[in-house]
């Protein structure tokens, strides 16, 4: 099971590279969306691996709240770039 987690971390490294490399703000936001869902999935996987219910609940909350915060940030950035 540890190798699955290592593969997930490797998949997480690709959007991190993209977020630091690309200059367009929307490409960065896209990379951040990928990172947010991937980190939540990794913590959910770890919680199932350890049979830790508290960690699992927190991971599900992070999964949904992180997406909501991302939408908020996207709207703020759109308003900023239009002004």
């Amino acid at each position: 099971m540890s190798w699955i987690l290592i593969a997930m971390i490797l998949a997480l490294l690709i959007p991190i590279y993209e977020a630091c490399k690309d200059e367009n703000i929307w490409q960065k936001m896209l990379a951040f969306a990928s990172i947010a869902s991937k980190t939540a999935m990794i913590s959910l996987f770890v919680s199932v691996l350890r049979d830790d219910w508290m960690l699992g609940a927190v991971a599900v909350i992070i999964l949904s709240v992180g997406n909501a915060g991302l939408m908020l940030l996207a709207h703020v950035i759109k308003r900023v770039s239009q002004a």
Binding site: I4, P15, S34, K38, D51, W53
Partner: protein, 96 residues
């Protein structure tokens, strides 16, 4: 303890999910448009994460409330987020 066929199936689901993750994220560093990448990423992330969660559900069925909640919230929120990101990025592009 656990049925070897179910075990094999769950590992297969997790492997397919990881494959989806790598395939969808591999388009990110390319020089495509935002909408193309968003399309690929929303498909790959949502379906890949759901496949991984399905594999976990087969492997640990006693944690089903958590995993079903995660699958539902993933499906809803990632779809809405895809729409919102596409709307924000395209209106900004036409406004420029």
């Amino acid at each position: 303890m656990i049925n070897p066929l179910v075990n094999l199936f769950s590992y297969g689901c997790i492997g397919i999910g990881l494959l989806f993750w790598f395939w969808g994220t591999a388009f990110l560093p390319s020089r495509r448009s935002v909408l193309f990448k968003l399309h690929m990423l929303s498909i790959a992330d949502t379906l890949g994460s759901m496949a991984i969660l399905l594999g976990l559900l087969l492997k640990r069925p006693q944690e089903w409330p958590l995993l079903v909640l995660a699958i539902i919230s993933l499906a809803i929120w990632n779809t809405v987020l895809g729409y919102v990101l596409a709307y924000c990025s395209t209106t900004e592009a036409t406004h420029d």
